[in-house]
Amino acid sequence: MTTSILGLFQQPEPAADAMDGLKEAGFELGTFDVLTGTPYPEGAFGEHVPQHRLFRFPAFGAIIGFTLSVFLTSVTQLAYPMVTGGKPILSIFAMLIIMYEMTMLAGVIATVIGIIFESRLPNMKPGIYDTRITEGWIGVVITFDDESKVADAESVLNKAGALEIKHA
């Protein structure tokens, strides 16, 4: 059974010490994480720097949007080929405007989907947490498959100066 514990700190330095201690105690990357109420500089806690593929999402969305827009602007005009103002049925300049907007729209929607996906959201069972994290406390959370390691983790957190340890 998976269990987890959360060590709470008020300052970033002891939280970073706890993260270092967990690495030194042999805990695998990905089994422990740091929770904060505000963004800190990347690597401030010596944490594992997450990799992401967010930049692929807008490109993918833009390709879909562009394809749909080419279809919409050309097929609809050819389906009812009424000349207006002496302009060609397929007026490239006018088509480009619609194509531009649809490409950008799909790019934005895909980016938002990407941000949510890469943030690993939605997560309706977020696990152990403490509301003081959004009041400036820093949480170091460790997840275990093997309960025998709980004591080791608690020892690391206590040594680093955790003000409180919560279990779930």
């Binding site: 994480d33 740091v34 929770l35 904060t36 109420g37 505000t38 963004p39 800190y40 500089p41 990347e42 806690f45 594992h48 720097v49 997450p50 992401h52 967010l54 930049f55 807008p58 602007t73 609809t76 005009q77 389906a79 009812y80 009424m82 207006t84 103002g85 302009k87 007026s91 006018a94 088509m95 405007i97 619609i98 531009y100 907007e101 649809m102 950008m104 729209l105 790019g107 934005v108 929607i109 980016t111 938002v112 941000i115 949510i116 890469e118 943030s119 690993r120 959201l121 939605p122 997560n123 309706m124 069972k125 977020p126 696990g127 947490y129 509301t131 994290i133 959004t134 009041e135 400036g136």
Partner: protein, 459 residues
């Protein structure tokens, strides 16, 4: 910018969530009054739809009047959000932090309001579906994409969708904060909306990278929207004063001028109403006024160019139109008021730091700008149509009717009503941005001077 206050996160939460966790005394009476105005507006709109456009002052040859002027005005105001949020985020301007959410919100609500005007202006709004939606598969009749009247809704709906999503993504950390501070149904609502936000490094990284990426994507949309709105006019070759080649950049810079001014108005109100003196400080008004001086002067250059090109062409109808705009009653009074309020009064005042850091003066001058910018749109749209031209067999002097004025007032009440309603449930200043500012700022000693310094990551 040498003002800095040490604020702990508990205090930041308490102050910036005071609109959500408590109900300010003024909130309910204000929202009730606005609600009544909104209701009156809705009844008037419904009556107009029922009776027809005969209840307005619109008549041949002036078919585009107060409604279209107000539509362009609100689209202009909507440019505040992306200008402030995206450009300042991309340039990592530190003073953006308390401004971004309100600016993004203004974008969303002003666009929602702007969209109402072309709909009701069409007289029979339900027929709009034939006009803009490519749905009539059975008969094979589709919208004419060669018309700017199709390009316009496409651009605005893109901007509205993008801005709303942008607003929501940036709201996620604060929704997590609200979830942590509430109980009962409110807690359930924020839990769902926060999507399980915890604040781990992956989520914060996505906020940072995603915010920059969305900003970069929204900027080209922002430029395109008011360009396309300008083409509603510029592509119509028949009306003097409309078919100008510089309309697109002229409209965009005018929109930024009015939009950023609207943000200043809103910032002053937020500081006064919610007592956010620690977060919205004179230095923010100072920075916004400096930005406005540049934008307003750029806009003035375009106004000058527009007049110069019109007169240099020596096209007799165009010159007659300019003469009418500037020298004939009542247009001349409107023209003088427009010029005074949009530039000649506020901008010289903003050259003085005492004015830029005086919040009451900034509030009133920003309102002046928007009076002027509304008049600018009116003077672009109406005189060109109202001028007596050969082969027009009928004309009426355009005088907006009480119905039009009521709907005009409704639009302001509606935007304010939506903003206040939003403020009851969501923070108007991004908390995580305010806190991040504290994390990344420290005082350094240079000689004997203590100077606040911003720390920034290299990449």
């Amino acid at each position: 910018m040498q003002q800095r206050r040490e604020l702990d996160q508990v205090y930041t939460n308490r102050k910036l969530l005071n609109g959500q966790l408590d109900t300010p005394k003024w909130w309910l009476p204000t929202v009730s009054i606005l609600g009544v105005v909104v209701l009156i507006g809705v009844v008037v709109i419904a009556t107009m739809i029922n009776k027809g456009l005969g209840v307005t002052g619109l008549a041949r040859p002036v078919y585009w009047g107060l409604f279209i002027t107000t539509f362009v005005f609100w689209v202009g105001i909507s440019h505040a959000g992306i200008m402030i949020s995206a450009i300042l985020r991309l340039t990592q301007a530190e003073w953006r932090r308390p401004v971004t959410r309100a600016a993004e919100l203004l974008t969303v609500f002003s666009l929602l309001t702007a969209l109402v005007f072309p709909l009701i202006h069409a007289g029979r709004p339900w027929r709009i579906a034939y006009w803009i939606m490519p749905y009539d598969v059975a008969r094979g009749i589709y919208p004419n994409i060669r018309s700017p009247l199709i390009m316009d809704p496409v651009a605005i709906s893109t901007y509205l969708t993008g801005s709303t999503l942008f607003l929501y993504i940036a709201l996620l950390p604060d929704l997590g904060n609200l979830r942590d501070r509430t109980t009962g149904w409110k807690n359930a609502m924020y839990t769902v909306l926060a999507l399980g936000w915890r604040g781990n490094p992956r989520q914060w990284k996505m906020q940072t990278v995603g915010g920059i990426l969305l900003s970069a994507l929204m900027l080209p949309i922002f430029v395109s929207v008011h360009s396309i709105v300008s083409w509603d006019f510029a592509i119509a070759a028949a009306v003097e004063g409309w078919h100008s080649t510089i309309f697109a950049p002229y409209f965009v810079i005018g929109a930024v001028h009015s939009g950023v001014s609207a943000v200043v108005t809103m910032m002053a109100l937020m500081r006064w109403l919610w007592k956010w003196d620690d977060f919205i400080r004179p230095e923010h008004f100072d920075a916004l006024a400096r930005l406005l001086i540049v934008v307003a002067t750029g806009w003035l250059a375009f106004t000058f160019l527009e007049l110069t090109f019109a007169l240099y062409g020596q096209d007799a109808p165009e010159i007659a139109l300019r003469e009418m705009q500037m020298f004939q009653w009542p247009w001349n009074a409107l023209f003088i008021t427009f010029f005074l309020t949009a530039y000649l009064i506020p901008v010289p005042m903003w050259l003085f730091k005492r004015v830029r850091t005086n919040i009451a003066l900034m509030f009133w001058t920003s309102i002046l700008v928007n009076v002027g910018m509304w008049l600018e749109r009116f003077l672009i749209i109406v005189p060109g149509l109202a001028r007596r031209t050969p082969f027009v067999y009928t004309w009426e002097a355009y005088r907006p009717s009480p119905v039009e004025w009521t709907i005009f007032i409704w639009s302001f009440a509606w935007v304010t009503f939506l903003m206040l309603l939003f403020s009851r449930f969501f923070p108007l200043v991004p908390l995580f941005e305010a806190k991040e500012s504290q994390v990344f700022t420290d005082d350094v000693m240079i000689g004997r001077a203590k100077v606040p310094a911003i720390v920034r990551e290299a990449d």
